[in-house]
Structure formats: C-alpha cells, structure tokens
C-alpha cells in the first residue's frame, strides 16, 4: 500500500506538483533587473501566498485523516498529494525567499518548514521500506497473534515448571514473570532486552534473551535420572526456546514500529510551530513594510 502512495493513480499528484513548481519557477524568472529576487516583489508575494496556502492545506491532512466520515477523496489520495505538494512547497518557499537567510523570524519559518518536510521525507522512507520488514518478521501473523502465542507459552511453561524441582520452578516462573517486552523510548527503539530472573537468593539479575533459563533447563536434562522428568524438561526446553523466538520477533516488531512512528513526534509539533512562525512572518512583514 505504501508504495502505492507514490504511484497513486499513476502518480497524478506528482504531475500536479511538477506543473505547480514549473509555474512558480516561471513566476520567479520574471524578476527583472530592477531588484534582486526577494519576497517583497510581486513575484515574491505571489510565491509566498502559494506557499502559505500549501502549508495550510498540507496541515489539513492531519484533520482529514481523522475524519473518517469525510467523502472528500480518500486518505490515501490525500497522503499522496501531501507528499508531492509538500516537496513542491520546499521549492516554492525557497523561490519565495530567494535563499536570503538571516537571524530573523522569516528564516525561522523557513527552517521550521524544512525540518517538517525533511522529517516527512524520513517518514516516507520508512513508510515505503519498513512494512515489508514488519510483515516478514511477523511471518504472516500479527502482533496480537504473537502475544497470544506468548501468553499460551507462558502458561504452558509455568505449568511444566511446577512439575520440576523447586529451583527450576522458581527460575522459570520468575524469568517468565520478569520478561521485558518494549518499555521506555530507548528500550523500544533499540529493542533492548531488560528481562530479569530471580534465582536462589531472590535477587533479580539480568536474563538477556532468556538464555539463563534455557541453559539451566538444558543442563538438567542429561543429569536427570527419571525418564518422566526428562520428558517434562525436554518439553519445557522446547517451550522456552519457542518463547525466545517469539520474544525476539516481538522486540523487533516494536523496534520497527517505533522507527515507523518516531518521526511524527517531530513532524507534528514542528508543523504547529511552523503555523505560528508563519503567522508571525506574515504579520511582521506588514508591520514594517
């Protein structure tokens, strides 16, 4: 679906944007020799108005995508237009400014706009590239199905552990209970495993990738004397190993989803700041014109 974003209706909005940009360049080159190109010529005011209207419309996507009852085009169409017209906005605003920058509110608007657009470029990149990795990682399932399987494995592991010695039981139960999935911002983005395990003394210690529990159970199998106990431990081991796989997939899923969404935490607040800066830019232009 995400690749379709760019090829929506044969790249209709690419052509819309290309025509708009060419038209704006056409306006820009009519700057004669009377004055260096800048935002204060009639060409500058024209380009600035187009840019401001574009920014307002682009921001409106945030409203439109929440308005499920709207019949004004599809969200996918809007998003495709958002991407292309947002890129066009970068060029149009650059023409408007004629690349004259300084320590002032006008450049502030431009910088904020660039940050919004470039964070959008990152967003476009991950929207195009990450869904495949996500779906490969989920192996055709969903995050819900991974959690459902983990829940069952936890239950099965706890039950099997209770058939073993108290030390195995304590290790398995505490490692299951103290399994970390996701967590804070960096835990999610770096897929950090903060899982713990409480052994004999009850003091929790790190249990990365559940390896301590798995090694412990695997060690016990050759030393067991009763065949019934061996069967139970082997089943427990297979449950723990399956758990390890599921946990890895879940952490990767959370990591990818995190990177898929993190840019919005830059894109959206800076868009609001940009709207403010745009208002200041326009007002102050006419304060002192």
């Amino acid at each position: 679906m995400f690749e379709n974003l760019l090829r929506y209706r044969g790249g209709r909005y690419f052509w819309w944007s290309a025509v708009l940009v060419v038209a704006c360049i056409g306006v820009f080159v009519t700057h004669g020799r009377a004055e260096p190109p800048n935002g204060g010529t009639w060409q500058g005011y024209t380009l600035g108005t187009i840019g401001a209207v574009l920014i307002l419309w682009l921001t409106w996507l945030g409203v439109r995508k929440r308005s499920y009852r709207s019949s004004m085009g599809t969200v996918r169409g809007w998003t495709s237009a958002h991407v292309y017209l947002g890129t066009a906005c970068l060029i149009i605003a650059s023409l408007h400014s004629a690349l004259q920058f300084g320590w002032n509110v006008h450049t502030l608007s431009y910088v904020l706009m660039c940050l919004v657009i470039f964070s959008g470029f990152y967003g476009l990149y991950v929207y195009i590239n990450y869904p495949r990795s996500l779906s490969d990682n989920r192996a055709g399932g969903s995050r819900e199905s991974l959690f459902a399987e983990l829940y069952e494995l936890n239950k099965r592991g706890m039950t099997l552990a209770r058939l073993s010695s108290p030390s195995v039981q304590q290790a398995v139960v505490s490692s299951i209970e103290r399994t970390a999935i996701g967590g804070g911002l960096l835990d999610q983005l770096l897929a950090r495993d903060g899982s713990l395990i409480a052994l004999g003394d009850g003091k929790p210690q790190p249990n990365p990738d559940q390896q301590i529990t798995i090694d412990m159970v695997a060690d016990l199998i050759p030393r067991s004397e009763k065949s019934q106990e061996v069967v139970a431990l082997e089943e427990l081991l297979s449950v723990l190993c399956r758990r390890q796989t599921i946990l890895r997939r879940l952490r990767k899923d959370i990591r990818l989803q995190g990177w898929l969404q993190i840019w919005l935490y830059v894109h959206v607040p800076l868009t609001i700041a940009l709207l403010g800066a745009l208002v200041v830019h326009i007002i102050t232009t006419f304060f002192y014109w």
Partner: protein, 574 residues
C-alpha cells in the same frame, strides 16, 4: 524490612494454591516493570506504580505521581492497610495479612484474573504512545515559544516606545528579529537595529521624511519649481530605493526605473513637452541627441557690442558652435603645417586634458595651450615685448607706450623697424617705416599702423572675431568678440571619457578620433559631438545580445545636479 509475599494462583487441578516469597528490601516497589519487587500485569498498572513499606504492623502503600490506588471503589494516592484490608492496583488485589514471626509485614497477592490472551499485550509498553513521548505538549510549547519570543515580546517593546538602545545581544528579543535582510552598510552603521528610524508607524510604509531627515540636499527628479509637477513623479523614495535586499541594491539600475514613465508620450507631453519618449537605448527607442550650446546675440550699445549668453538646446545634426574663436582642428593636426618644438605633430592631449571627473576637460586657455606657438609680439625690433592677452585697450596702450619710448630714444636708428621676420608672400613690408614728423607723431603713426595690423590683418584677428566700430578713438575702435567654449555639451548626460581612451586596436589620439572627427574639421563651428549611431555601434540596451549593455542610469541621473542645468529646464517649463 522483611515482607512475606503470598501469591495466589490457579492450581494445576481445580482450585487455587499459593506460593510464599520473602522480600528483604528497604522499600518494596510495585509495578508492571520487570525490575519491580512485586510485578503486577494489567492494563492500568504503570511501570512503577507504588511503593510499599511496613510500619507498626500495618502496610503503607503510596502510589507514585499520576497513579492511583483503589480502596472500596475510591481512588486514593496512599493507603494504610491493617490485616484483612485490601487495595486494588489495576485488577490485582493486595490484602494485608498478619505478619508471621520474623516478618515486618505480610501481603497476599491475587493477580488480575482479566489478564488473558486478549489483554496480555496491554500489560507491556509496546508503543511510543506508552512512553513519555508526546505530540501535543511539544506542539503547544513550541507554538507558544514562537508567538511569545518572535511576536509578543518585540511588539511589547515597540509599543512601549522605549527608545533606549538595547543592550548588546538583547536584539534577540527586539523587533530586530523582524528584519527581512541586512541594511546597506552605511545605513547599518548609522541606524543599526533601530527599526523605528525609518519604520515610524506599524503597518505603514516608509515615508519620504525618513529619507530626507538625513538626505537633506537631494534634488528632485525635475528641478523644484516645475509648475506641472506638484510632487515627485514617483510615489515614495522607497519605491525605487529598496532596503533589506541581498545583494544590497539601493539604486535601481534597470531601465524600468525610467521607462515606466518615459514610455508614456501622453503624460510626458503634458508634464514636460520638450522631453521625448524613451524606451531603451537604440536609434529607434532613444530620442535623437541634442546639445546645449551657449549662444549670444550681439546687440550694439553706446559702449559697444553687448553679448547676452544663453544656453540653448539644439538638435545635434544642425547645431553649430558659437565660440567666437577661429580654430581649424585639421590644420593643427596636420604635421605638415604645425609641429611641436621637437618636430612632432600636435596631439589631442597637447590641448585637451581630462578632468579628474573623467568626463569633462580642463578648459583650453591661451596661456596654457596657444601661447607657446602664438606669441603676441608686435614689434619685430623688440621680440621680447608682447601684448597683454584678453585686454584690447591695454594692448593698444602697450603698443602706444612702446613706440613712444622707441621714437623718443635719441638713437632713433634703433627705432627703424626691421623686416618682419615672417612676412607673408605677396605682402609688402610695413610701409610705416618712413616717418618725417616729430618723434611723438611718428610714434602715434606707427602705433595706429600696428593696431590696424593686429586687429585686422595678422595678430588678434588670426584667432578672434574683431568688430571695427569705426570710431576715431583707437582705444575703443576695435572690439574683440568674447570667447565662450562650452564646458559640457550634454549636461543631462554623463560620459566617462577615461574608460573610452582604450578601445579595441586603438588608444591615444586614435581613440579620440573614433568619435570626434577633428582631422576633418576646418572650422570651430563644427561640433564634432558624435551622434547616437556612434554609441550604438558598441552599446545598446539589454534587449540586444553581443553588445555592451547600457542602462539609462549609466548616462542619466534620476536626481539631477541642479547647478548644471537649471536654465534648460526652468525656462521651458510650461
């Protein structure tokens, strides 16, 4: 602090069973995170939800900021549990129990029965939304920062009207951050960040008084007093002089500066009838050249001729200079006729010296440029005696005094004139050499002969136009027409002679002669000012490729120098 934790859970068969754990910790942490001493799962359990302490047989549980404990359906931030009392955290129940011997407290945990397959995921923070990250408050904060520091604070300072110079660095909070670009360096030095120096009113465009406060002596486009123009043709100074641009361009150089008005024949004919339409620089788009010449009508008064000089504009093609000087350029440039002392031909630079303004020339004068060759001797017997130049009466007096002295000399032989050193062919030698009267009579006779010679045959009259009034008084009989050499033939235009002294394959006199046909000029009435086609052979406006482009302002000034051309414009105002 030792706490006994009893966890209840479903048994393998039906019913429940429990497992006891001993927690020896100063504080028992409760939350969903794996590092908590008591780990509770559930949608409403925070990562670090509460802390538990035992004191006086009771359990004190205090929720961390933003989290709640529920006792009998009521939300509390802290509770104290006596044995048998219970508290809900999420769906998990904690019930205080009488502490066994050796323990400070005991608690029974009944895990949330709702945590099942469907809600299991919610026990973990698996989305960025679950972290401290937010879109909402950073948006509001950054919006507020922008509005406050970029708009409200500077606006307050402007409205406050405090003219005190802001401290260095404080400009970050002043209206200086509203600037749309740097000022011209000179303006920046004198005005700096004081926006109010020009922008006196909010929402009002810069008015002319902001400019004229410093630029007091600037001339209007048309000389003041022009009846048809009550104000400047342009609306405001800032229409043409735009600040805050990069690169700084305070003076518009493009032709539109002029042609926006000067292409409109109807308006021009109403305002300035003598100004023709101009839309560029070519023979078709630019008016024909005109020259401003000083012209005088000589009127006879009792004291002689009176010359009233006036500057007149004349079309170049039929203009004739009225300098009253006789000077054939062709003769002077002909090496066969005139040579310098070293035997070389005269050059342009021997008489014409460029002024420091690179446009005009130092005025030619008798003393500096002519006298080396044209001596003012009048008595071949006394070649050291010369007539004073420019003073006809004094010249007559000089001659009279000289000859009286000569004829009064006892050794009269010395007074006999020798043959003229340079007698013209076919002309008799001076006949005044035979005098039989008194010394005074002879001296006066000789004087009259020489005065006639000077003013009518070979002296002053060689270069000057002389009027013989016919009076008997020798001192006032001859009147020399005053010489008036124009200093500036085109006062409304400027031309850099210096940069034209080097041309392709030409320099020196050859460069001069490209435009001024001096070798073909035999009369001083010839103007030798080139017409527009001479200019357009190299220069045109920007519409033509492969030429050296000229803007209007390369030759014309918008604000004229009133001293150079008042007469031209004031006299022809409607």
């Amino acid at each position: 602090m030792d706490i006994l934790l009893r966890e209840m859970r479903a048994a393998l068969d039906q019913g429940t069973e429990f497992q006891d754990r001993e927690l020896s910790l100063p504080v028992v942490t409760i939350g969903s995170r794996q590092d908590q001493a008591i780990q509770l799962l559930g949608e409403q359990v925070a990562g670090s939800h509460a802390e538990l302490r035992a004191a006086g047989g009771k359990l004190q549980i205090k929720a961390t900021r933003g989290n709640a404990l529920v006792v009998d359906g009521e939300k509390r931030s802290s509770v104290e549990l006596a044995p048998g009392e219970r508290v809900l955290i999420g769906g998990n129940t904690l019930e205080a129990m009488a502490a066994p011997a050796g323990f400070d407290g005991a608690v029974v945990l009944v895990p949330d029965p709702e945590v099942d397959r469907a809600t299991f995921e919610n026990a973990y923070q698996t989305s960025l939304k679950d972290t401290w990250l937010s879109k909402r408050w950073p948006a509001w904060i950054s919006l507020a920062l922008v509005l406050v520091f970029a708009l409200a604070v500077p606006l307050y300072l402007v409205m406050d009207g405090d003219d005190a110079t802001p401290a260095p660095g404080a400009s970050l909070l002043t209206d200086a951050i509203w600037t749309s670009g740097p000022l011209h360096a000179v303006h920046n030095q004198s005005i700096g960040d004081d926006c109010g120096a020009c922008h006196s009113e909010l929402l009002e465009r810069v008015q002319d008084n902001a400019c004229t406060a410093c630029h007091k002596d600037i001339e209007d486009h048309i000389v003041p007093g022009h009846a048809a123009l009550q104000s400047m043709p342009t609306e405001r100074c800032a229409v043409c002089h735009k600040e805050h641009n990069e690169p700084t361009l305070l003076v518009i150089e493009a032709d539109s500066l002029c042609t926006d008005c000067h292409d409109d024949g109807a308006t021009l004919s109403r305002v300035s009838p003598h100004v023709e339409v101009a839309t560029g620089f070519s023979e078709a788009s630019h008016p024909r050249f005109e020259v401003a010449l000083p012209i005088a009508q000589a009127t006879a008064k009792a004291t002689g001729l009176v010359f009233d000089w006036e500057l007149h504009e004349r079309p170049l093609e039929d203009a004739q200079e009225q300098s009253n000087l006789k000077f054939p350029h062709d003769l002077h440039l002909d090496v066969g006729s005139v040579r310098t002392q070293s035997g070389e031909a005269l050059g342009c630079g021997d008489c014409h010296t460029l002024s420091p303004d690179r446009e005009h020339f130092v005025p030619v004068s008798m003393a500096a440029h002519c006298r080396d060759c044209h001596e003012l001797t009048f008595d071949a017997g006394a070649p050291q005696r010369q007539l004073p130049h420019g003073q006809p009466s004094e010249a007559v007096a000089t001659m009279e005094g000289h000859f009286i002295r000569v004829y009064a000399d006892p050794s009269r032989a010395a007074a006999e004139p020798t043959r003229e050193r340079r007698r013209r062919p076919g002309r008799r030698a001076d006949s005044g050499n035979s005098c039989s009267g008194t010394a005074l009579q002879c001296a006066l006779q000789r004087t009259e002969a020489e005065v006639l010679n000077q003013f009518t045959r070979s002296g002053c009259v060689t270069c000057h136009r002389v009027d013989d009034t016919g009076t008997s008084d020798l001192f006032t009989r001859f009147q020399v027409y005053p010489v008036r050499l124009p200093g500036d033939f085109m006062p409304t235009a400027r031309f850099d002679h210096h940069s034209h002294l080097t041309q392709k394959d030409k320099d020196g006199d050859a460069a001069c002669l490209t435009c001024h046909e001096a070798t073909a000029s035999s009369a001083s009435t010839d103007l030798m000012i080139p017409d527009i086609d001479n200019c357009t052979s190299c220069h045109t406006d920007h519409t033509v490729a492969d030429s050296v482009p000229l803007d209007c302002v390369d030759c014309h000034a918008y604000h004229p120098d009133a001293s150079s051309m008042p007469q031209l414009f004031t006299e022809r105002t409607p």
